[in-house]
């Protein structure tokens, strides 16, 4: 082999090595995923939680929310779209304890997902088997407990499936709501459980 050939091969080798280096240290190799489920799994894995059993995947614009349970915890982990085709961990990873002595357990969190969306999620799990529907009452956040009328209450309703988890969501930038009451209703529409936050 002459020196020219060796030089050519060395240069090609260096070029390939550099490309491989860029590829492996890139977040597109180990952080951004083409599949939202993979982003969700990585999010839980690096949080030292789960893997949770996903009971439902909810699509809200550029976000996916994974309702799931793991042992005695429930969670609604969110992953977000990145650059149109990739998915990356968002927020809400990690579970909240399921309080078996209560009819239902819930949690909420809000996060800004783009400049027009402040996504509020109110989610939970129902342990009382009698409950078939969950309702959440919302009012404008600016209204005090004694300053709103019945007709200013917006009620969101969620019909439970076999997995017993529920999720309410709204965009705080469009509707600056706060929750004032949650109810669990039985088959006949009777209130079985009610909790209020004045």
């Amino acid at each position: 082999m002459n020196t020219q050939k060796i030089k050519t091969l060395t240069e090609w080798g260096a070029a390939i090595l550099l490309i491989v280096w860029i590829y492996f240290q890139s977040p597109y190799f180990n952080y951004y995923h083409l599949s939202p489920l993979e982003a969700h799994q990585q999010s839980e894995r690096t949080f030292y939680y789960g893997p949770s059993e996903v009971v439902e995947e909810v699509e809200i614009g550029d976000a996916r929310i994974y309702l799931g349970t793991y042992k005695n915890w429930f969670s609604a982990n969110m992953v977000l779209k990145h650059k149109g085709i990739f998915w990356a961990p968002g927020s809400g990873v990690g579970g909240h304890e399921i309080n078996k002595s209560k009819d239902l357990s819930y949690s909420w969190s809000g996060s800004s997902i783009d400049k027009d969306t402040m996504l509020m999620r109110f989610y939970g799990i129902v342990t009382n088997p009698e409950i078939v529907d969950v309702e959440l009452d919302l009012v404008e956040a600016t209204l005090n407990s004694d300053s709103y009328q019945k007709d200013q209450i917006n009620t969101l309703s969620f019909h439970l499936k076999n997995h017993r988890m529920f999720l309410f969501h709204w965009n705080m930038q469009e509707n600056n709501y706060r929750q004032v009451a949650i109810r669990g209703l039985d088959e006949n529409g009777e209130v079985v459980y009610e909790e209020e936050w004045p």
Binding site: W21, R45, W73, P89, G95
Partner: protein, 156 residues
């Protein structure tokens, strides 16, 4: 033609890697510990307990280095070697227990990110001077571990 392609590739790649190359060089010359912690270690008033224990937590490795016993506080030094990028280590889930039944919870802390993970410095309340045994306790959802740390008082 081949010459132009491969040389362009090399130059473009090197250009993309400039931040990484700078990071690697500065990393090689930087010290891992912040100055105030190094000063405390060298002051002679700090009692340093070498922990030197490694724990596998899921896919990551947690390396406990030292516990620094100071007059008014305790410092726990450890490294987290991550297998993949993701959430930062939940340092609040680490508590220290002494042989007198006291439990010291995480008070504050700092960490610095590395290519391979992170270095953590967590603050706890001061420990009793005559402590013989310590336990580092980790409790996070269903993950937990405990490390027993004998304190050799003769080293003081």
């Amino acid at each position: 033609m081949g010459k132009i392609i491969r040389r362009t590739l090399i130059i473009v790649c090197l250009f993309i890697l400039i931040p990484d190359i700078i990071y690697m060089v500065t990393e090689a010359f930087s010290r891992d510990l912040p100055r105030e912690i190094r000063e405390k270690m060298n002051s002679g008033e700090t009692f340093i307990i070498d922990v030197d224990e490694e724990v596998k937590l899921d896919q990551d490795i947690i390396e406990f280095e030292q516990i620094l016993m100071l007059e008014d506080e305790t410092l726990l030094l450890f490294e987290v070697h991550n297998n993949e990028p993701g959430w930062s280590f939940p340092a609040t889930a680490l508590s220290i227990k002494d042989d007198k039944g006291n439990n010291y919870t995480y008070r504050s802390g700092s960490s610095s990110g590395k290519k391979w993970g992170s270095i953590h410095f967590s603050n706890y309340d001061a420990l009793p001077n005559d402590v013989q045994n310590l336990v580092i306790d980790f409790s996070w959802f269903d993950r937990s571990f405990r490390i027993e740390v004998p304190v050799d008082q003769e080293d003081r």
